[in-house]
Subunit: 214 residues, 2 copies
């Protein structure tokens, strides 16, 4: 206790500078599908096996395209049989495609299985969190009631629904923000307590020393 000036870090005070970073930005993870697909590309789709992986272009099952802004499934058959079951609970190419569509990927070649998404690029794992599922809007009306008169501009019910969607989204975000802020405050208070505690101990200690030395 005497020489604990150096123990500031142990008390957690040293985290002052960096402790915010954990919470200020949403630590939200990318969707499992996106992470798996990204990893699968990093790993060449071959997964983990003992053999040295041949990196010959003509042996590739799946890979980033030249500029890293998209990817190509060179061999759908091998991809389905070997790659998919390593990362997912199925081996159906069409289920994989369905997921790509769900997350807004676009097929960018009619000649081969090449896909891209604005936020899905080689070396940009951090962008994955930006990709969201296209959700069939939870409309106020059940789909089987939806009239077929939807081509022209918005019907009023759609508009109401749309407003509501926006409000709910904003609402949700605000609540998340609130939680984060509350956590930050809790942390702040905890640090205050520690600092005060430490300070009082230090004062006691200091006074004792001075007294003895006098």
């Amino acid at each position: 206790m005497g020489d604990n000036v150096l123990d500031l870090n142990l008390l957690g005070v040293g985290e002052l500078a960096s402790h915010h970073e954990g919470h200020t930005l949403r630590p939200r993870n990318p969707a499992p599908f996106l992470l798996k697909t990204y990893n699968l590309l990093e790993e060449g789709g071959g997964g983990v096996n003992g053999e040295a992986e041949a990196e010959d272009d003509n042996k590739k099952i799946v890979s980033w395209n030249v500029d890293g802004k998209g990817f190509v499934v060179w061999s759908p058959a091998e991809f389905s049989d070997l790659t998919l079951p390593r990362y997912f609970k199925h081996n159906n190419f069409s289920s994989f495609i369905r997921q790509l569509n769900t997350y807004g990927f676009k097929k960018i070649s009619s000649k081969r299985w090449e896909f891209k998404h604005e936020k899905f690029q080689r070396g940009c794992k951090h962008l994955l969190v930006e990709i969201t599922r296209k959700k069939g809007e939870p409309s106020v009306f059940p789909s089987y009631l939806k009239s077929s008169s939807e081509e022209n501009g918005m019907t009023s019910s759609m508009e109401v629904n749309n407003n509501q969607q926006i409000l709910m989204e904003e609402n949700k975000n605000l609540k998340e923000e609130r939680l984060e802020l509350q956590m930050q405050i809790a942390e702040c208070k905890a640090i205050e307590m520690k600092l005060l505690e430490y300070l009082s101990q230090f004062v006691d200690n200091h006074q004792n020393k001075v007294r003895r030395l006098c």
Copy 2:
């Protein structure tokens, strides 16, 4: 039908057989989950393997109960590790339970994992089609918006409007709260800074004193 057979061969996964069978037949099929669970019981949960299956009661993993009006998972661990992955795309006992609940099965013993459903009985495969998923009623309103204001005669448009009002109100409150929290945080940080500043001065001061006194 021919197509289905072809698919099965390509998939090369016997377990999926029940999944694809007879889509063109008139009478609706039971849900895949129910059929698999039923088959699993008929087969003793051991699935297809070369060895003769020991039918000793004390070696059973899962079986119908005595009167055939329910079934018991005698060994959840083995059931999860051995049985589940043979019939489903997972090996989580809790996911299996989740499905049982979804289809309205009831746990009928607190001492062991025993479940029943009115329409799920030994020798009554034909009753399976009667079992349906309990679905969160396809209400016109998202569940999280459901207020308790539904008994009184509200039209849906009134309700939509009402919901929007509520949302906007909540939204406004959340924003005010956010501001408040942000101010609290600013204050906290200021206090932290002062405490740290004071502490460092105190330390310096203390060391000087001690040095002089020595």
